[in-house]
Amino acid sequence: MKASVLKAIELILSRDAELMDILGVTAEMSLQSSIFALLIGLPIGIWLGTCKFPGRNMLLVANRTLQGLPPVVCGLLFYMLFSGVGPFRHLKLLFTVKIMIMAQIVLITPIVISNMESYVASVAPAVRETAKGMGLGGFKTFWLLCNECMYQIISVYLLAFARSIAEVGAVSMVGGAIAWKTNVMTTAIMQYTNRGNFTLGIALGIILLTISLIVNVGISLLQRRLSR
């Protein structure tokens, strides 16, 4: 065990080519999926948090349901749509990083929506009331609301990124964990462990844990700033 850990550290320090490739694919997938999820989820979250309309509760329930969507079910869905018998087979996206990003977006956008909606709903009435009291217009009020949500937006992004980087079920199904192409940290750990190659698995585990630690420290620092 100790020898494997030491060897793993050596592998990280030597910038092993395969390890670097896995890290590159992981970064591409996690960064892109979390950014797209934020771009989609943010306006929806703000809209649901500020507006009251018939059917809003239904949308919130639907979003909560999607939040609980098992990654393997999401993977299965994308597999069926893009495989040889699926309606989108001509796009030839199966076993590419693109489809992994798409599956991740479906999985993490509901998390972005839910977190933004609950925060916005908690501050929007007071922001609106105060802005109205000063006679400020709709644009200025919206700007003030966004300013109030700034730390929350960063916090939600980090949460989405953390979820994306740690996901394994959907990405292994639609990406196929192909070496030098679609293998990400989580799928590679699984793969190398099954093969009995603990060294690379441990190296990846160390990196994954370090990233997770950094992200969580970031989130907790932001939450401390957020607390009034």
Partner: protein
């Protein structure tokens, strides 16, 4: 200026039924009444924050300023918060001096205490001159010293701007100190109104007498 009649119903219960009145510029109207009498709903409807049963504008004033009961401090400095309601930095500094929060101008406003936030919100509202200014319990979170300081600022503001000020207050002493007119709300209705001498010291309605006696006036 006129306030036209309106009503407000929540879940089939009418919480406010207002029959209308005239407002005079340069006067302070203290709105008093027990908890749940409709004072804050009255203020919120006039400010346009809450909609009455029938849509419309019930206050025929060109500009209306409103300071809510729960003051919100935006995540920026105290001075930046005040400057949200006007760009005149000199006026902002003068108001901060008057209400003794100048030393907090660079401090993040969302980290201020309740009393400091209330003072900041009062200064923020006073950055502009309005035809009608509505304050909902502006000094509820303040101690006696800052309450008296705020009252002085409020009376100076009314004199300077010539606005009609509607101030919801739970303090009869405060109404006695600074109001010109008093509006007594009882169970969602304006039961009695008139000069403070008349309403506070020679009330006509039995409910008003009972309320004033209960609060020791």
């Amino acid at each position: 200026m006129n306030i036209s009649s309106f009503s407000k119903t929540y879940d089939k219960t009418t919480v406010l039924n207002f029959s209308g009145m005239e407002l005079q510029s340069g006067k302070i109207y203290a709105v008093i009444g027990a908890i749940g009498s409709g004072k804050s709903t009255f203020a919120k409807i006039l400010a346009g924050v809450v909609k009455a049963d029938r849509k419309g504008n019930y206050l025929d004033a060109n500009s209306v300023g409103y300071m809510p009961q729960k003051n919100f401090a935006f995540r920026m400095s105290t001075k930046a918060n005040i400057l949200l309601n006007g760009r005149d930095e000199q006026r902002a500094e003068k108001l901060m001096d008057a209400i003794q929060i100048r030393h907090l101008e660079s401090k993040r406003a969302d980290r201020l205490s309740g009393g400091e936030t209330a003072r900041m919100a009062l200064a923020r509202l006073m950055m502009k001159h309005y035809d009608v200014a509505i304050l909902d319990e502006p000094t509820a979170a303040m101690d006696m010293e800052t309450t008296l300081l705020s009252e002085k600022l409020i009376t100076e503001y009314v004199r300077e701007s010539g606005c009609a000020m509607i101030m919801v207050t739970h303090s009869l002493q405060q109404a006695r100190r600074i109001a010109d007119e008093v509006l007594y709300f009882h169970k969602g209705k304006l039961l009695e109104s008139g000069s403070k001498e008349q309403v506070l010291f020679a009330p006509v309605m039995a409910e008003t007498k009972q309320f004033l006696e209960f609060y020791g006036l």
